[in-house]
């Protein structure tokens, strides 16, 4: 299947951090001035080699901690970004850490077309902050977010729950604080004890799954009551502030991924870049490539699309693949079990079963479905 559509989204990964959080298994490394310089040069080379002059609508700069770069380095980064055709740019997100938020950096972002800032706050509970090895107090967090608001109205904050021994009371305190921030977008994540993280190695005991599940539904309820629309498993937005960039992913659309460990989807190829800084600096960018067959693409369309609360539009699916959903996947069986719901031509996961998404999504992979 050839897709000659212009690519409208770009993800850029900046792997450097001044502090490594104990739960993080993203591609990251300690900030090192010399390495940052070399990295940015190589990033420029990668982009020049692969970017095909598409008109870009969304850019997302994530990490690691892109905000750990100093003013000079940021300038160098934005110079690279000026390579892109941004005449149609709608959304440009930059990830910030609380400790990096300062007026001149915000100003620099603003002057370089950034119009959305995503801030990793996670929690203000000292017990959990020390567990995830972050250092911030609630006054500082509040002040920094207010400072950011002076320059940006489109702000996301990351919220984390499901810490070991966390109680519903702990959760409520965090939520009330987040409510005070009154930002337009909130992403929620449970603490996952991933292999190769400090927490996993220290054999941290996970929170009981019943409690965690209750927390998830509590958060949804809490945020909905405060005017946030739940539009994706983990994401909430005030009207008009959904993340266009992330919707690229969930709509199974194509995007460029540049930088260490980044993934992308170009033409029929999904690729993942190397996590080895040495290989990357030698110009060996790609670690894995996979050609996406029509079958695989349809599966991905569902796996990603069902993350959205509105789910997958049946007509859109048919227009895209010229096949009916029901011919390919056990839709009726899942509907009968009340795991999937159909409404207004959209097929979506039963809201009460969202926390069991994987068990539902496994029905969309593998050839057995192709009967």
């Amino acid at each position: 299947m050839i897709n000659n559509d212009e690519i409208k989204a770009i993800y850029i990964h900046i792997p450097f951090c001044k502090n490594i959080c104990s739960y993080c298994d993203f591609c990251k490394m300690y900030y090192n001035k010399n390495l940052v310089n070399k990295y940015l040069s190589e990033l420029e080379a990668e982009i020049k080699n692969n970017y095909h002059k598409d008109k870009i609508k969304t850019i997302y700069i994530g990490g690691g901690s892109p905000s750990s770069l100093d003013i000079n380095e940021l300038n160098k980064l934005f110079n690279i970004i000026s390579l892109f055709d941004t005449s149609n740019l709608k959304e440009f997100t930059f990830e910030m850490n609380i400790c990096d938020i300062e007026e001149n950096k915000l100003l620099l972002l603003k002057n370089n077309k950034v119009n959305r800032v995503s801030i990793g706050i996670e929690t203000i509970n000292n017990k959990f902050l020390s567990l995830i090895e972050r250092c911030q107090d609630s006054t500082e967090v509040y002040d920094k977010v207010m400072l950011t608001k002076k320059y940006f109205d489109n702000i996301n904050v990351d919220f984390m729950y499901g810490f070991p021994n966390e109680t519903i009371d702990d959760l409520k305190k965090d939520l009330l604080f987040f409510q005070e921030l009154n930002v337009n977008h909130i992403s929620i994540y449970s603490l996952i004890l991933e292999e190769h993280t400090k927490l996993f190695i220290n054999k941290t005991k996970p929170l009981d799954e019943d409690i965690e599940s209750n927390m998830y539904y509590y958060i949804i309820d809490f945020l909905k009551k405060r005017g946030y629309v739940h539009y994706e498993i983990s994401n909430f937005a005030k009207e008009g502030f959904r993340s266009r960039h992330n919707l690229t992913y969930w709509n199974n659309d194509r995007y460029y991924g540049f930088g260490l460990g980044a993934s992308g989807y170009i033409d029929n190829i999904r690729y993942t870049n190397t996590r080895s800084i040495n290989n990357y600096l030698k110009g060996i960018y790609v670690l894995e490539k996979e050609e996406i067959s029509k079958r695989l693409d349809m599966e991905n369309e569902m796996i990603l699309g069902l993350r959205k609360i509105k789910g997958v539009n049946k007509k859109h699916f048919y227009d895209k693949y010229h096949l009916k959903l029901e011919e390919i996947f056990p839709i009726n069986e899942l509907k009968k079990k009340n795991l999937l719901i159909e409404k207004d031509g959209n097929l979506f996961i039963n809201p009460y079963k969202l926390y069991l998404s994987n068990s539902i999504l496994v029905n969309f992979i593998g050839n057995e479905c192709l009967k």
Binding site: F26, E209, I233, N246, Y255, E288, N358, I365
Partner: protein
């Protein structure tokens, strides 16, 4: 070859007493294998044998040994050590004139050794007692010598001391084999009588049979007849193992070798049958072997129902060199089409399961092992029941009898207490105790066979820190107050989970089983109630709570590839489960019906 120069012998030893190492050393000493070629456990050719360090199938090696200017042919016919394979032992013993009794210098005689030794003596074999591992720091040679003399009646100077590790004593041993073991009897001029003591399936040569020539001889090109099945084949190939394969033109009286005859039909070959020449047949068959009775049964089902025929073929091929395996098709409401298979014991069952999975690549669900019950019906008819769900309705049953065994438990005397407690828990009846020496004892109990099919070995091992050894003989059937206990999941009786239990233990068992099931059944999309019942009477219940969390909230940018890998892993896990109604069961669930109350 002059039959006076032939010696056929096997080795009897307890697991770990060094049989395979000793065999390796003998092969080396007779230059059958160079040091360079030597890998350990030369004769154990199956992967499972090498991994578990046990011998399951017999194997034969023909060695040349130069003694006093004469070259002798020594045929070593390997034997399994485990009690389950007594049948195999008796087969190899029937092809021999002598046996080496190998005993560990530190551990002394063990239960299984003794059982196999008695078998050898019944077969009138000459026994050469060997104390092995004399190099061990904790070897106690005088004590083990005394055991051999007291228990079996050997003279001290008959006993040969060896270390298979250092090679010490191997020459004396080889000399003793030549001097003490008689050459085979039999008459070269009589019509051919050859005992089939083993067979394997080779995809190029068809069925290959292992034969010991008792009378006459056989040459390549001659037509042989299987006396029981009347099948006739032309011999295409005669080989011996040295243990490299060597071709021969003929096998004469007293010799042991492998015969291929393009035998395609597995059912034409029966281990224990006699081969003779088609144009000059012997009038009489050799006595062969008593057919072995299966003691333990279980249902074996392919997880993928479409692989039923593959499973049938796999069982057929395994049966070829394992006559003791029996199977017949069976249907379960829960599991679909499969086979009820009979085994000599639990280890045998495990080995077969593992071989099907490994050699034929079929994923299996097996039901809990069951013994064969003798059910007396009200009309006095007797019914043999090898599966709980074949038990007739209670109203038609007059009496249920179950097989009992008598134990030989060899143990250091400090473990007598715990062992008696274990046997008592398993409905055992104490008989007596024989002191082998002041610190070692042989404990005899009568136990229902059903009670040892699950965790008796494991418990015995852990109660005695592995010092006790165990063997048993079947002593017959006794009436017991037995009932069928059913297990219900989500309100449906799962036939494959039914089990026959003693009425006095039913409540306790029901509770233990239900708790165990709760533990092993993973949480599902819906709540799953579990019940144990006798007839319509529920005796225990529990619930597997519904799954609450199964989600990957964090999405790595758009990295759907990584997400897919996680989902694929999850799907793989699902494949190893059996979907029964709306419930997915892992293999452990089917074994958990044998759970005992662990709190005791």
């Amino acid at each position: 070859m002059n039959k006076q120069l032939i010696r056929n012998f096997s080795i009897i030893a307890h697991i770990d007493h060094g049989k395979s190492t000793l065999a390796d050393r003998i092969l080396e000493a007779t230059n059958a294998v160079s040091k360079r070629e030597a890998k350990t456990q030369m004769l154990d050719s199956m992967d499972i044998e090498r991994e578990r360090g046990i011998t399951i199938k017999l194997n034969t090696a023909s060695l040349r040994y130069n003694y006093n200017g004469q070259v002798y042919d020594l045929n070593l016919i390997d034997t399994p050590g485990h009690v389950d394979f007594t049948y195999e032992v008796s087969r190899s013993l029937a092809a021999c004139e002598g046996a080496l009794l190998v005993v560990d210098a530190a551990q002394g005689i063990e239960a299984q050794t003794l059982a196999n030794l008695y078998l050898a003596m019944e077969n009138n074999l000459v026994i050469i007692p060997v104390i092995n591992k004399i190099d061990l720091p904790n070897a106690d040679i005088p004590k083990v010598k005394k055991e051999l003399m007291d228990l079996i009646g050997f003279d001290e100077d008959e006993i040969i001391l060896t270390s298979a590790k250092t090679g010490e004593g191997i020459d004396q041993l080889l000399q003793a084999i030549v001097e003490r073991i008689p050459s085979p009897l039999g008459d070269e001029n009589k019509p051919l009588q050859g005992l089939i003591f083993d067979s394997i399936f080779d995809s190029y040569r068809g069925v290959v049979i292992s034969v010991r020539i008792i009378n006459g001889k056989v040459r390549v090109g001659e037509s042989i007849k299987m006396m029981e099945t009347n099948a006739v084949y032309e011999v295409t190939d005669i080989t011996i193992n040295t243990p490299k394969e060597v071709k021969k033109e003929e096998l004469i009286v007293g010799e042991v070798g492998f015969i291929s005859a393009s035998i395609k039909s597995i059912s034409d070959v029966k281990v224990g049958d006699t081969i003779t020449l088609a144009n000059n047949p012997s009038k009489e068959k050799l006595p062969g072997y008593k057919p072995m009775k299966s003691m333990v049964f279980c249902g074996i089902y392919p997880i993928e129902t479409s692989r039923f025929e593959d499973l049938r073929e796999a069982l057929g091929k395994l049966k070829l060199n394992d006559a003791s395996l029996v199977f017949e098709p069976e249907t379960s409401n829960a599991l679909g089409f499969g086979f009820r298979c009979g085994f000599l014991g639990l280890l045998h069952m495990e080995i077969i399961k593992e071989r099907i999975t490994r050699e034929f690549n079929i994923d299996l669900i097996t039901t809990a092992p069951s013994v064969v019950y003798e059910v007396v019906l009200t009309n006095k008819e007797i019914l043999m029941v090898d599966a709980p769900n074949k038990l007739p309705d209670k109203s038609k049953i007059l009496e249920i009898r179950e097989p009992y065994i008598k134990t030989n438990i060899f143990t250091p005397s400090e473990y007598i207490g715990p062992i008696m407690e274990l046997c008592q828990d398993k409905r055992g009846i104490y008989i007596n105790m024989d002191y082998i020496n002041p610190t070692r004892v042989n404990i005899h109990y009568e136990l229902p066979l059903a009670e040892i099919v699950y965790d008796f070995f494991d418990k015995l091992k852990s109660y005695t820190k592995g010092y006790a050894s165990f063997d048993y003989e079947i002593i017959g059937y006794k009436a017991s107050d037995l009932v069928k206990m059913d297990i219900l999941l989500n309100g449906d009786t799962i036939d494959a989970l039914s089990v026959i239990v003693h009425k006095d233990f039913a409540y306790q068992r029901g509770k233990a089983v239900v708790e165990k099931l709760k533990e092993v059944i993973p949480r599902q999309m819906f709540e799953v109630p579990i019940q144990a019942s006798l007839g319509n009477h529920v005796i225990a219940r529990s619930t597997v709570k519904a799954l609450r969390k199964d989600v990957l909230a964090k999405c790595y940018g758009g990295d759907v590839t990584r997400k897919r890998k996680l989902l694929e892993k999850q799907k793989e896990g699902k494949k190893r489960m059996k979907q029964i109604g709306s419930v997915e069961l892992p293999q452990e669930a089917f074994m958990s019906v044998l759970s005992m109350d662990e709190s005791k």
